[in-house]
């Protein structure tokens, strides 16, 4: 608590006055809270051989939420003052007119913490960071004459949050987050291709940068770009797909993750809403959403409603077991919050969201999978994905892939979109690898205009049938 932000320090309103406004506003509501947030962030960008951008952001504000039955009233402002808080309170009351609920004071407690209370921005001087970015640029450009462009950036952030509930209960968290990204563009014989790689998580820059670890990030970006320079047009049509371990798990995130978020299932707009307890994936497929892994990008000590996070089993051995819930959807669906209530920042309402979504290891090898494919593709790296929750159709974009011919990996193919059907695609998984890997810590998930940091993990998998969106018929 000592190192915590005191949100009322420079304000004309004291903590106890704020608590009184919260309690008064929420007394007959079913739930709600005052959410206070202070974020300090820094961006440093090297591009085109020079430091293009050095910027610092300091963001402060509150979001006041009142819930009655299924109705959510929300008001936010940058100004933490008596006047502003009262105005918000009036605004909430005017939406909810007559409320007659009972405030649910219950919120689970835990002493566990999944990251340290640090400010990564202050742990390294601006000069040190600029020096590393310049070294990245020099290192890459000296490695390959075909390099025409190098972009590298650092993003560092410290977010302090406090949640004040009716009755004055206060929950706090300080969340560090960093990201280091490198992208390179190669040009050879008039052809241009790029490669991108990055690392990140909830810890200090030093963890990722010591012993010149940054070189491996550069090498990986350059390797992907080099592979793409040799790529030929991707095939078009349905075929077998082998996915590599780690980051390709954005398949899991898009194919089933979003469809298992509580709000879409309460509203029955998810393709999964009537499949609880049923078989939605092949035997051997187990998927969890875990907020409790130390220092991971998607981990949280408490979610944005104050609930401690957990490891939620979504699919166990092919059977749908749980949805991801925030307090609102859990109450209406008569279950408990899984600590999945998240928001981008104080400007946004809470939604049930993913944290680190992972498919657990099976016992086959990647080699066995490749050997089992006559004609198909082997996808190793991806850009991003998207899903239509209602129809269940999802896509993801390969940034590194190879054709498989008669059980052997062939030439690299150009980036293509893969499309599949969420509820059926995991039933097409015919092999699960023994090589589960976490992604490098670079994922941001978008939903309803809100971006939150997430993680994914999976072993290699073989999918019997997916449509590959290439141009070669």
């Amino acid at each position: 608590m000592l190192s915590m932000n005191n949100f009322f320090e420079k304000s004309d309103i004291s903590r106890s006055e704020a608590e009184n406004i919260v309690s008064d506003t929420l007394s007959k509501c079913d739930d709600g809270e005052l959410y206070l947030e202070n974020t300090k962030s820094e961006t440093l960008l090297l591009d085109d051989n020079r430091i293009k951008n050095s910027s610092y952001n300091s963001d402060l504000g509150f979001g006041f939420r009142a819930i009655s039955d299924e109705i959510v009233a929300y008001s936010h402002s940058n100004e933490i003052s008596k006047n502003s808080l009262r105005q918000s309170s009036e605004n909430l009351k005017s939406t909810l007119k007559s409320v007659k609920g009972t405030y649910n004071h219950e919120i689970p407690k835990s002493n566990k913490k999944y990251y340290d209370n640090i400010n990564p921005i202050e742990q390294k001087s601006l000069n040190e960071k600029i020096k590393i970015l310049n070294e990245v640029n020099n290192y890459l450009r000296s490695k390959d004459n075909n390099i025409k462009q190098v972009t590298a950036n650092f993003l560092g952030e410290q977010k302090s949050v406090e949640i004040i509930r009716s009755g004055g209960e206060s929950l706090t968290d300080v969340r560090p987050l960093i990201r280091f990204n490198v992208s390179v563009m190669l040009e050879k014989n008039g052809r241009k291709e790029s490669g991108v790689y990055g690392v990140g998580g909830r810890q200090s820059y030093d963890f990722y940068l010591k012993d010149e670890n940054w070189k491996s990030v550069c090498d990986e970006a350059l390797r992907i770009a080099s592979v793409n320079l040799e790529s030929k047009p991707a095939p078009a049509g349905e075929m077998k797909v082998v996915l590599g371990p780690g980051w390709p798990a954005i398949l899991i995130h898009e194919a089933v993750g979003h469809g298992l978020e509580g709000d879409f299932n309460r509203k029955k707009t998810s393709a999964f809403h009537n499949l609880m307890g049923q078989k939605v994936a092949s035997e051997g497929v187990t998927i969890v959403d875990d907020g409790t892994i130390d220092n991971r990008r998607g981990s949280l000590t408490i979610d944005d409603e104050g609930t401690p996070t957990e490891k939620t089993v979504l699919i166990e051995n092919g059977i749908l077991k749980n949805f991801m819930q925030d307090r609102l959807n859990a109450r209406i669906m008569k279950t408990r919050s899984t600590g999945s209530g998240r928001r981008e920042n104080y400007r946004h309402i809470v939604l049930p969201r993913m944290r680190n979504t992972m498919m657990l290891s099976g016992n086959q090898t990647q080699d066995e999978m490749i050997k089992a494919v006559d004609k198909g593709i082997f996808a190793v790296s991806f850009g991003g994905g998207q899903v239509d929750i209602t129809s269940g159709k999802f896509v993801f974009n390969c940034t590194e892939a190879y054709e498989i011919v008669n059980g052997k990996i062939g030439s690299p193919i150009k980036g293509a979109t893969l499309i599949g059907d969420g509820p059926s695609s995991l039933k097409e998984v015919s092999m699960v690898g023994n090589d589960m890997m976490m992604d490098p810590g670079i994922g941001t998930c978008g939903k309803a205009g809100q971006g939150v940091p997430v993680g994914v993990a999976q072993p290699s998998i073989l999918i019997n049938k997916m449509t590959v969106g290439g141009t070669k018929l």
Partner: protein, 438 residues
């Protein structure tokens, strides 16, 4: 209420003066405030209300050719003092870049025309609720509709942009936005679609009933889709998708992509990049236009640009920094385009549908499959099979792919342009793309 000009100007000049005192040789500042109120409905009932009052300030300081910037939502002088000091300190420690500077003084906007972008009308929440009731009633009329969600937002904003060259201007803007998302279900499938209307003036907003009905109709006709085989086929892009292709074109001609060499349209000025009949305009002075503006985010005056004339690329979109690198003058496009559009084609929508005996009409794409370095395009798509000018049946779980360099050369436009967004296109046909399905 959104803050007035005087308040924002005071904050802006406080920052410029302080930055100078702390050692900045030049600086610029943007101060903005926006107040927005939203009401959401679901299944004909109130679901959510959301009020936001947002301040933002961003300051860029220069010391010679060194530059750094800060931004904050906290406008208290105490906080600004700390941040500006931090910014000037960071500027000193940032390496020089010969192209860093404020815009040329003679390019800055000299006057601020009233483009009719602010409607003083205040729509109370009860009025929003009335609008949404009417919308949701129309949206849920058909029994196949199983879920409706709709939203009404009123946004009022104001800003001031000021720099040490003496520029200081800004103006109020308003927007009123209504949207409807519906889910329809039959024995075989569940589908979602939407419609949306956004205007500067409340009285111009689409009728609630029509908006709701449109969303519902578009959703119902998607039910029981089929998957088709992989083939080369003419693609017709609905206006709401065609505008995205125009946006991709805009990012490929931004001076930053050009100067970094990361665009497939680099060095293509005065070359034919589209088919002969294609004209692209960026017109910033449309009254009540959703993308209208007097100047760009650096204060540089924005004039109408004919970006593409009869298929030939005429201009890049240039800001000060990248313009200097390319040895070109800024044309007031820092922050992107204003009201960007394809001029109408020569044939009607109906004739476009009839142009080929068989084509695919695309109403939605998913995925981020546009690569502006290579021009490669590959996205997931949903739509309809069109045969002999008739919509046959809905289609999904397919991808469409091509390369923009070829796609741009094979565009045919209908004559049904309307200004619904800031970037607009008539219905568009592109020949020669590949569909991947079964």
């Amino acid at each position: 209420m959104v803050k007035d000009q005087e308040f924002l100007e005071k904050k802006a000049s406080y920052c410029l003066v302080l930055a100078k005192k702390l050692g900045a040789t030049e600086s610029s500042v943007i101060v903005n405030n926006s107040v927005s109120e939203t009401v959401n409905f679901r299944n004909k009932k109130l679901d959510e209300s959301n009020r936001s009052d947002d301040f933002g300030i961003s300051i860029t300081t220069y010391i010679g050719k060194k530059k750094s910037s800060i931004s904050s939502s906290n406008l208290l002088d105490d906080n600004l003092n700390i941040l500006i000091e931090k910014c000037v300190e960071a500027t000193k420690n940032t390496p020089e870049d010969e192209f860093n500077s404020l815009p040329d003084k003679d390019l800055l906007a000299k006057e601020v025309k009233d483009l009719n972008l602010y409607d003083d009308t205040h729509i109370e929440n009860d009025q929003k609720i009335d609008y949404l009731k009417k919308l949701e009633f129309a949206a849920s009329n058909d029994r196949k509709i199983v879920n409706t969600e709709s939203s009404f937002t009123q946004n009022k904003s104001n800003f001031i942009l000021a720099n040490t060259e003496g520029f200081c201007a800004g103006y109020k803007k308003s927007s009123f936005t209504a949207s409807s998302v519906t889910v329809a279900k039959d024995e075989k499938s569940m589908e979602r679609d939407y419609d949306y209307s956004s205007k500067c003036f409340f009285k111009d907003l689409d009728d609630a009933g029509e908006l709701g009905k449109q969303a519902a109709d578009q959703t119902i006709r998607k039910l029981s889709p089929k998957k088709i085989g992989s083939e080369k086929i003419a693609i017709i892009f609905d206006k709401r998708i065609a505008k995205g292709i125009l946006s991709t074109f805009a990012s490929a001609i931004s001076s930053s992509a050009i100067s970094r060499g990361t665009s497939f349209l680099k060095d293509k000025v005065n070359q034919k990049v589209f088919s002969d009949t294609i004209n692209v305009l960026d017109k910033p002075d449309i009254l009540k236009g959703l993308g209208s503006r007097n100047f760009d985010s650096e204060g540089v005056k924005t004039d109408t640009l004919k970006l593409v004339e009869q298929g030939v690329l005429k201009h890049y979109l240039i800001d000060t920094y990248n313009g200097r690198k390319l040895n070109l003058k800024s044309n007031g496009r820092c922050g992107g385009t204003s009201n960007l559009y394809f001029e109408n084609g020569n044939i009607s929508f109906k004739d476009l549908l009839n142009l080929k005996s068989k084509s695919l009409y695309i109403t939605e794409t998913i995925g981020h499959g546009s690569n502006i370095i290579t021009g490669d395009y590959s996205v997931g798509a949903t739509g309809f099979l069109v045969e002999n000018g008739e919509f046959k049946h809905p289609i999904n779980e397919i991808t469409i792919a091509g390369n923009f360099k070829d796609m741009f050369q094979h565009i045919t436009l209908a004559n049904d342009l309307e200004f619904k967004y800031a970037t607009n296109s008539p219905t568009m046909m592109i020949e020669g793309m590949v569909v991947a399905g079964k």
